[in-house]
Amino acid sequence: MMTTLKELAGELISMFFGETWLTVALLALVAVTGLLIDFAGLDELVGGATLLFGSLVLLVASVYRAARRAF
């Protein structure tokens, strides 16, 4: 039973935090975007574009990084 619970917990964690680099980078991107909008008075649409294009760049970088590490 404990093994099953541990496996479930592990699965739940890996659902969201499977790749540490991507997880940390995405959380940092969201935090920076939020701070810029709330405290630096950044226009919300510019903030939105930062979030969107930042995510796209992180995705490509994460795939490229994984491919490089595989060889």
Binding site: L12, L56, L59
Partner: protein, 247 residues
């Protein structure tokens, strides 16, 4: 509720559930093939009962969370989850990661159960039932999260839930007819598509949670999805080039 609002949520829930239910079905089928349908059905029923309890517990709690906080929390989780799927699908499409092989998973699960049968004669039905329960619970948790994530922010829990139920019904109907792992389902293509949709939802909800009013409202989701599709494909092309150069 408009079609433009509901369609992406229902489609995402349906396709994501299709992938997860196919994976769970493979393991339940392995259990049923080796130990009969009784432990497989009992394990599946127990798994579905636990999942239902989780939904019933979480549902009322979600209503108490302020909508902006809910959108931000779910948006961030969707971003992490969706981009994780998209990243893996891009790497699989590039040949860096092996494709998900339902036949191989079925054989491995059957071999493991067979091994346990040789080592330990007692309680085999119990072990088989627990195996089925774990498969249903592990894959089902992802389905529950996706349904909540794409449905909760806009009051679309019921349509998204129906999308998931339709996927379950489809897999069970095909599975009952063919009695073998559904290895011909194009899992990576589906995962790529679902990763694109979940990532698009993730940016959308996170932005709304941060107070961003997206131009075009829900239609912005389509633009986001197109951009994530492009980024996933570009990543895959880069990775494939890398693989070809260094292989």
């Amino acid at each position: 509720m408009t079609f433009a609002t509901a369609a992406p949520a229902v489609t995402a829930a349906f396709l994501a559930s299709l992938v997860e239910v196919v994976e769970a079905f493979t393991i339940v089928l392995a259990v049923a093939t080796l130990r009969g349908w009784r432990p497989a059905a009992l394990g599946t029923t127990a798994g579905l009962t636990v999942l239902t309890a989780i939904v019933l517990l979480l549902g009322p709690l979600l209503d108490r969370v302020p909508i902006t906080s809910l959108q931000l929390a779910i948006g961030i989780l969707l971003l992490l989850f969706g981009m994780g799927w998209l990243r893996k699908a891009s790497l699989r499409a590039a040949g860096i990661l092996p494709l998900h092989d339902e036949d191989a998973i079925f054989a491995a699960e059957a071999a493991q159960l067979g091994d346990q049968a040789r080592r330990q004669q007692r309680n085999l039905d119990w072990v088989a039932g627990i195996t089925a329960l774990k498969a249903v619970l592990l894959e089902g948790l992802e389905v529950v999260f996706i349904v909540i994530a794409v449905g909760a922010g806009r009051g679309l829990l019921v349509p998204a839930g129906l999308g998931a139920v339709a996927a379950c019904a489809l897999v069970l109907a095909i599975g009952a007819a063919v009695h073998r792992p559904l290895s011909r389902v194009p899992e990576n293509t589906l995962k790529f598509g679902v990763g694109v949709m979940l990532s698009a939802f993730g940016v959308f909800w996170t932005g709304e949670g941060l107070g961003i009013a997206w131009p075009g409202q829900d239609l912005a989701l389509l633009l986001f999805a197109a951009l994530f599709l492009g980024a996933g494909l570009i990543g895959s092309v880069f990775a494939r080039k890398f693989a070809v150069e260094f292989a």
